[in-house]
Symmetry: C2
Subunit: 203 residues, 2 copies
């Protein structure tokens, strides 16, 4: 085991066994809620003894933190990969909203745990996640500011537009899929149109 | 006790004692999650014996249903009261978005339980709640259609705009209040601007 307990990578757990435990935790947390789940149940779902989880995650909260850290990092990495800062702001916003909406649709169980169980994290762990969340919002804020500066966008309030665009993406994990929207690609197209409208780009 | 067990009003529980139990349930469900809460804990928070809940709610699920029914009905009644169908669509959308956003900000604990614990309802109870949810979305859809017809709105996709406007309102209960937005009135103003943009009204 790594001795770098201060490192976020070490906290997530890089072994295959730890990854299997996190994947099982996501399924059970998403289905039953974090509070209703025990590490014993997570172990049992993998045919492991309760003690087998302990070397990887000492507490249920540390497992939630690992899942949250991994999920938030994945969403942010995915979003940043979609954003090409040298492109036109309209292209950037299209690409970023598409990536963010599709990530929440494709990973809706993981996203639901990651977005809706934050209150169960320790204060210290919450702070770490809050930093990643601010970085995520900042991707959208930076694109909107760039568009305001070039005159491509006519945003009324940049903070509100960033919040709303992020909120639409997050909220996808609450309900996806529905009878009307079950194709992430189609949903992303509709939300891109609405996001462009929000920053004042005419269709 | 009422014998009209088929009635949704009877299901909610109209007595003062039942209302106190629902209020306590909302606080504990919102803080710990439905799955992690027992009716025993809810009773204890009111200095009641576990048996005192039973005459009002036979199961924890029936208590969640009562809370969900009451919350969804309250949000819908509040939204409908804000909508005056003889007004201009822009006025109607402004008023409806304001009411919906403010309701989710003012009642964020209740809204969180009502919006995020639906998976724990029985199939039959979920169906009842789904009807109220469709009625809620329909208020927005009707306003947007009216605006499209008069030419006041230039909506690209009415279903998507309804979904997004409803989603923004619901999502408020996930995070409200934040360091940037803690005044429901200010948040509602920003979201009205964005909703009008979404349906193609220039500021």
């Amino acid at each position: 085991m790594s001795t770098r307990q201060d490192s976020t990578v070490a906290d997530v757990g890089t072994s295959k066994a730890a990854a299997r435990i996190r994947a099982a935790a996501i399924e059970i947390f998403a289905a039953k809620g974090y509070g209703a789940t025990s590490t014993r149940q997570i172990a049992a779902s993998l045919d492991l003894s309760p003690g087998a989880v302990y070397p990887h995650y000492k507490t249920k909260e540390s497992l939630l933190f690992a899942v949250s850290l991994e999920g938030h990092n994945a969403a942010l990495v995915n979003l940043r990969a979609a954003d090409e800062p040298t492109s036109l702001p309209t292209v950037r916003l299209t690409s970023a909203v598409t990536a963010y909406v599709k990530w929440h649709a494709h990973h809706h169980s993981q996203a639901r745990v990651v977005q809706y169980e934050l209150r169960s994290l320790s204060a210290e762990h919450f702070k770490t996640i809050a930093i990643i969340r601010r970085e995520t919002t900042k991707v959208f804020t930076d694109i909107i500011r760039a568009g305001n500066e070039t005159g491509e966008f006519q945003t009324i309030d940049t903070d509100a537009a960033s919040l709303a665009i992020t909120a639409l993406g997050v909220d996808v994990s609450r309900w996806f899929p529905s009878s009307t929207y079950s194709d992430p690609e189609v949903l992303a197209e509709r939300y891109v149109e609405l996001a462009l409208r929000m920053v004042g780009v005419a269709p």
